[in-house]
Point group: C2
Chain length 102, copies 2
């Protein structure tokens, strides 16, 4: 049976698996890993741009790069004590939505 | 009553609110917005670094910058046809976890 993945559940999964290593490395080094993945995402977006004919592998890679960026963002949140579900209240709380995302 | 926010639910919320605008702008311009928020996240991480004495506002801003990065990542996924919950299977599917996040 499929259980929808929650923001908090994914953050916790990343915490269990990577917190010790990433906490020991610290924020600056972990931020560099995030940026490396953001760079790989840029490459994958170019490979899949309109007018290109991406291979199945390039298309699959695009999804993986999005996932990797989110994983590094979550681990960076973990080692900085940020609860992503609470942070997202600025988007999910209807009374607060005006003017966000800019 | 509190309903846990799902990855798919948040992606859909961002789609409803921003898809038309961000799709019209296209991937390169939307990617630049993502990077702008990544830069603001870097600033907020520095403001909240060990040894600093962040104000309550700086601490709150850190959470907001994490949320903004995730929102722009989601909208970029939307306009590129990427389902984030499916993409995250590389982390959530136990048989696939070896060697990921690097």
């Amino acid at each position: 049976m499929h259980t929808p993945l929650t923001i908090a559940g994914f953050q916790e999964l990343i915490r269990r698996r990577y917190y010790a290593t990433d906490s020991a490395r610290g924020t600056p080094g972990t931020f560099m890993w995030l940026i490396e993945e953001v760079g790989e995402l840029a490459t994958a977006l170019q490979d899949n741009a309109p007018g290109k004919s991406p291979t199945h592998e390039q298309r699959a890679n695009l999804s993986e790069e999005f996932a990797d960026v989110l994983a590094w963002l979550m681990t960076l949140a973990n080692i900085n004590g940020v609860d992503m579900e609470k942070a997202l209240a600025k988007y999910t709380d209807e009374e607060r939505v005006k003017g966000v995302k800019s």
